[in-house]
Amino acid sequence: MSKIHVSTTVNGDEVEFLCDPRETLLDCLRDKLNLTGAKEGCGTGDCGACSVTLDDRLVCSCLVLGAEAEGKTVSTVEGMAEGESLHPLQQKFIEYAALQCGICTPGILVATKALLDKNPDPTESEVRYWLAGNLCRCTGYDKIIRAIMDTAADLREAS
C-alpha cells in the first residue's frame, strides 16, 4: 500500500512524515516522530492515555488517522512545559502525588489543560465527568482531582 505524505504542526514545530493509511495519529506520533508521551492503553478510545489536542480539540489520538493531521495543529504532553518551567498542572501533579505509575498522566494532563482552557472554574463534578474518558487504575482519582481543583484556583488568582 502506498504511503501518504503528511505535513502538520506538532507542539509548534512543523513536521512531516509518511504513513500507511491505516496508521493512527498515535502510531505516527510515537513511531515516526518519537513523541512517546502519548500512550496506547487500549487503542479503542476507552482509556484516554493517548489524549492530544488537534486544532485545540481534545481527541483520542488512537481514533484519529495520521493522515487526518495534515495541515492541522497537534499538541501533546511534550509541549506543555514552557522552556524550563513546568505547566502549573504538571507542577501540582507532582506536588499532590497525583500520579503513581504515571502511564495515565500525560493523557490526564492534556485533557485537564483542555478543560481549564475552556472552563477556568469547574466544579469537582465537572472535573470528574470531564475526565470520565481518562482511566487511572492506580490512584482512585482522589489526589488527581485535588491537584486539579487547586491548580484551577491558583490560575484564577493569577489571571
Binding site: 500507511d20 491505516r22 496508521e23 502510531d27 510515537r30 513511531d31 518519537n34 513523541l35 512517546t36 508521551g37 502519548a38 500512550k39 496506547e40 492503553g41 487500549c42 487503542g43 479503542t44 476507552d46 482509556c47 492515555a49 501533546t76 504532553v77 511534550e78 506543555m80 512545559a81 513546568l86 504538571q90 501533579f93 507532582i94 506536588e95 502525588a97 500520579l99 503513581q100 505509575c101 504515571g102 502511564i103 495515565c104 498522566t105 500525560p106 494532563l109 463534578s125 472535573v127 470528574r128 465527568y129 475526565l131 470520565a132 481518562n134 482511566l135 487511572c136 487504575r137 492506580c138 490512584t139 482512585g140 482519582y141 482522589d142 489526589k143 488527581i144 482531582i145 485535588r146
Partner: protein, 755 residues
Amino acid sequence: MALDEPKTTDFKYVGTRPDRPDGFDKVTGRAKFGADMSAPGMLHAAILRSPHAHARILSIDTSEAEAMKGVKAVVTRADFSKNVPFESGLSGEFWNILENVMAGEKALYDGHAVAAVAATSALDARDALKLIKVDYEVLPHVTDVDAAMASGAPVLRKGAADSSVPEGLHPNVVRYHESGHGDVEAGFTAADLVIEDSFVTEATHQGYIEPHACLATLGSDGKGELWCTTQGHWHAQKVCAALLDLETSQLRVTASEIGGGFGGKTTVFIEPVALALARKANRSVKLVMNRSEVFRATGPTSSTSMDIKIGMTKDGKITAAKGVFCLQGGAFPGAPCDESAMCAFAPYNLENVLQVGYDVMSNRPKQAAYRAPGSPMAAFAVESVIDELCKKLNLDPIDIRLKNAAHTGSKSSFGPRFDAIGLVETLEAAKAHPHYSAPLKPGQGRGISCGFWFNHGGETAVSLALSEDGTAQISVGTPDIGGSRASMALMAAEELGIPYDHIRCTIADTATLGYNEISHGSRVTYASGLATIKAARDAVEKLCKRAAAKWGIPEEAVKWQDGFAVPSGPNAGDFDPIPLKDLTADMGATGGPIVGHFEASPEGAGVSFATHLVDAEVDPETGKTEILRYTVVQDAGKAIHPTYVEGQYQGGAAQGIGWALNEEYIYGDDGRLQNAGFLDYRIPLASDLPMIDTVIIEVPNPGHPYGVRGVGETSICPPLAAIANAVSAASGVRLRQLPMSPPRIVAALKNQSNG
C-alpha cells in the same frame, strides 16, 4: 533475622512528604515505559491466538506467512526449549509458563498463543498472522469453577494434580489446602446462631493501563538484552533463560518504567516470544500487546465459589468458623486457594476454625496475582456472613469485630501466633471516625469490613555508592510500583544524615546486582527498605573507619551522627566532627570508593490488617449503586512517605469498588471472552468515585528497622465485603455474587418482593 528494637521516633526525613524523583519525567512524557523503547533496525512482532476455548492443534502451516514480504521470522512451540520438564502442581511452573506462553499440543483457552511473527512493520506483522493456517480439532470446554470440578467435566490435562489432592477428585482439581484448629462441630453446637451461606465471585483483571510490552535482542551467541515492563526482571531473566535454553547470566534484563502491574506483571507472557523471534531473525524485536490480548491472555484473578459457616453466641462471640474455597485459576495450577483459606478468618481470634481450599483448572487464561491474591474474595464471603450474624443478633458490627479480633500474641486461624499487629487499632479508629456516626438518609446504607494480608520478604540485594561530592546513589532491584524510589531515598537520608535531594535511587538491571525477587507481596518498602537501611549502615561503618584513620583512633571510637563522624565519647579524643562530604571528597586517596551493600532474604515482613467503612446508595429502579463516602483505616507499621501510603490505600479501595460493583470476565457458551476491552470491562472512572478518606495506623513491625509493614495489598481486601454490606443495608437484599452489577441488584430486589 535478629533486629534491634525498631526506631519509631525522632525521624528527620522518614515520614515527610517530598516530591517523588520520577515525577518530573512522568508529567513531561519523557518517562520510558515498556512500549517507549526502540532499537536500530528493530522489527515489530504480533502473536496469533486461539479463537477456541479448548482445541487440539493438529497442524500449523506458517509457510505463506514466512514468504510474505517484510516477514523476518515466525515462531511456534518448536522454537522453544524441549528441556523444560512437565511436573505436577507448581513444581512444574516453568513448564506451565512455557505452555502458557506458546501452546503445545492443545490450545487451552480463548486467546492462547499459538504462533508469532516478526516483520519490518507492526501492520505487516499483523497481516502476516492471517496467513498462518492452524488446523484445530475443537474439544469440549469448561470455564465455570463448580462445573470444572464436577464429574464428567472435560479434563484439561491429566497428571497436573500434585500429591496434596485427595483421592477421587476430578483431575481438574490440582491442589488442595486444609488448615485450622479446634473442633468446629463442637463450636457450632455451642453457638446460639449459625449461618451457612454460599458465595461466588467472577474473575477480574488487574486492569493496568499499560499493556505488556518488551524489546528483545538475542544472538545465536546466546547473549541477549531484554527491556520490558515487569514487576520482576530477575524473574523474567530466569524464566526466559529456561524457556529458551540460555544461560541466565547471558541475558541482561532491564525493567522499564512500569505502567501499573498490581500483581499482573509478576510473570512473563510475551518476553520469551520476542526473544525467540529476535534469535531467529537476528534482529531486535519489539512486541506490544493490544488491550484485547491483555484481557484474553494475561492473568485475571481466579473466579471463586465459596461456602461459609459461622456460629455466634447471643452476645457476639464467634464459636466456630468453617470455609470451603474453590478457586478457578485458568488452564494451569496456581489459583491461590491456600491464600483464600488462610486469610479468610485471619482477623478473628478463634477457638475452632477449619478452612479448605481447592485449586481448579478450567479453559481460561492462567490466573495471575492481583493485590493480595485470594484474600479479597474470601473476605467478601466471610465478612458478609459476619454482617448477617450481627444484623440477626442486633449487634454493632465494629463492637463484634473488636470482641473477636485477633491481637498481638493470639493464635492465627492459619497456625502461628501473631507478632505485634494493629487490627484492634484500625477498628477503634474506624469506630471513632466521624464517618461511623454520620447520619444516613433513607435508601442509604453503611458497610464495614476487615481485611488481612500476609506481606512478604524475599531475596533482596541493594548497593549504595557515595559520590565525591557527598551525595549518594542507591541501586535497588525491585521495580518501583508504588513510589519506592522516594521511600528508599528517605530511609537512606535518615541513616546517612544527608538531605533527601542528595540521593538518587535507580532500579538496577540484572547485570548490576544480585538476584532480587519480584516486586510483589507488598515487599518493596519492607525488604528493599530494610536492605537500603542496612546498605547505608554498611557505608556509614566504612565512613567511620576513614574518620578513625584520619584521627588515628580505633574505629569503635567513632560514631555517626546526623551526617557527621564524631568521636564516640570524651575518651575517644577531642576532634572536630567531619561531615560526610569531607570523607568522600578524598576517598580515592584514603582507601578507594565507599559503597555499602546488603544482600539477604529478610523474613520479618509484618502482616497487615485494615478496616474499611463505606456508605452506599442503591437506586431500586436501575439497580445502580453509588458510593457516597469511603474511609480506609489501615496499619502501615511506619509510613515512610505518608502520601504514597495514602495513594496505596486509595488505589486499593478504588479497585475494590470496581470489583464489587462492575468488573467481571464474561464468557459466552462458546467459551470465548465477551468483554475484552475497557468499554465492556468497565473499571471505575473519576465520575464513579467519591474522595477516598484514609487513616494511617502505625503499629511498628518488629521485623523492620523502622517498623515498616507492606501496605500495597491489604487495601483491596475489605472493599468487596464492605460494599456488599453497605448494599445490603441500603437495599435490604444480600448479594452473594460479585459483581453487584445493576441487573443483579434489580433481580435480587425482584426476587425479594416476589418471595
